[in-house]
């Protein structure tokens, strides 16, 4: 792997981690997650473009939901 790719991956990983933490912080004061969240995520994933495996994306969003205090799908 090229050093520049490694460097970019490190920055992306830090940004992903920071945003996950920020998402959890945002929800920490709330009683419950948005009830239309599942439909919204499904809609988001259907329109997603890119090489990331769609099934894995669904799993990731489920995991994010659980990490933020939700119950997943």
């Amino acid at each position: 792997m090229k050093p520049s790719t490694r460097n970019q991956l490190a920055h992306l990983d830090r940004a992903i981690l920071a945003m996950l933490q920020e998402r959890a912080r945002l929800l920490s004061g709330e009683d419950s997650d948005n009830p239309d969240r599942l439909a919204r995520i499904d809609d988001l994933l259907q329109r997603a473009e890119g090489p990331f495996d769609p099934g894995l994306l669904k799993e990731i969003f489920d995991a994010i939901d659980r990490g933020c205090g939700g119950s997943g799908s």
Partner: protein
């Protein structure tokens, strides 16, 4: 010169060197920094005394600020300083959004509700307005302060408002205005700076429309030297040859200010652009460049706003700005104030 003592240097030994310096006729200021003693020397030292200072075993290093300011210099604190406005902390890794109408008007309650619902942290609103034309709306005055404070309390947000004259300070105190704004046109009104510094409230110091960074930091130093320890700088655009926008937002100075001063810095993209559609992009850019917060103008119905209607945002745009501020804060290693 700023003298950085070694951490743990006993106060008596700091005082000993301080007295030696002051006996020579130079004034000094001791930093409130708890991590280590930091002593600012205001006046130039003789070469002999300088050698004595540098040879002192308690002195780790000496640094020369890029200007003649001392108390606002970055090296006068171990870490960047934070300022509490009500229960909102500015600086320290949390980004804040300050929003409200340019002028307090009859729709203030709706504007405050917009700010609160969008997730804003501070409510701004002008009661005394410095207008270019004497025929323009001059603000509601003291009644405006009352309306602003009431709206802030109703929606749980500390309030920020501009003070234009030292004679207005008792009204600001009576209405418990949480943060006093020094506007761009008064940045070098040194009499006002001294009076505001002595008032004891946090101060939002806007950059003068033609002020250099040096001049801006000297104004901040005035506030610090006269007793204000809670100073927030606010870049709001400077006057350049460009006239497609109201002013030119000078984001270049944000990383520079990080090197030169410990003070938190906010950005007001509304006054810089003067065009509402540009403000979301400039808000993102400001936070990406390191701003500790943004100050934007909103109005529930810009068509009836008493001033600066063309740069007022609606509720949807403000909500988007707050959401994007959260993302920008996260990717720059910070977070949005809760």
């Amino acid at each position: 010169m700023i003298i950085r003592f070694r951490p743990g240097t006993p106060p008596a030994r700091v005082q000993e060197l301080r007295e030696k310096i002051e006996t020579s006729g130079s004034r000094t200021v001791l930093s409130p920094e708890p991590a280590r003693p930091l002593l600012a020397v205001v006046d130039k030292l003789s070469s002999e005394l300088r050698e004595v200072v540098e040879a002192c075993p308690d002195v780790e290093s000496t640094v020369q600020p890029p200007g003649a300011w001392r108390m606002v210099d970055r090296r006068f604190r171990e870490n960047p300083s934070t300022v509490k406005v009500g229960d909102v902390e500015i600086g320290g890794g949390k980004v804040v959004v300050c929003a409200g109408p340019c002028s307090v008007d009859p729709l203030l309650d709706e504007a405050a509700a917009m700010v609160s619902q969008a997730g804003g942290h501070l409510l701004r609103g002008g009661a005394f307005k410095p207008r270019t034309s004497p025929w323009s709306f001059q603000g509601f005055g003291v009644e405006g302060l009352r309306l602003l404070k009431d709206a802030g309390q109703k929606y749980g947000m500390p309030v920020v408002s501009e003070v234009m004259d030292a004679a207005q300070l008792p009204a600001f105190k009576d209405h418990d205005i949480d943060c006093l704004q020094i506007g761009a046109r008064n940045m070098q009104n040194f009499t006002l700076l001294k009076a505001v510094a002595e008032a004891g409230a946090p101060v939002l110091l806007k950059r003068g429309l033609s002020a250099t960074v040096h001049e801006w930091l000297y104004s901040a130093e005035y506030l610090a030297a006269f007793g204000c320890s809670d100073i927030i700088l606010c870049e709001r655009g400077i006057r350049t040859f460009e006239n497609a926008t109201r002013n030119t937002l000078d984001l270049t100075i944000l990383p520079l200010l990080r090197e030169w001063t410990h003070l938190p810095v906010m950005v007001d993209p509304s006054h810089a652009a003067g065009i509402a559609s540009l403000i979301p992009t400039l808000s993102r850019a400001s936070i990406a460049a390191g701003a500790d917060g943004i100050a934007v103008e909103v109005h529930p119905d810009p068509s009836v706003a008493r001033s600066d209607a063309e740069q007022a945002l609606g509720s949807g745009e403000l909500a988007t700005i707050v959401a994007e501020a959260r993302i920008q804060a996260a990717v720059t290693g910070r977070g949005l104030h809760t």
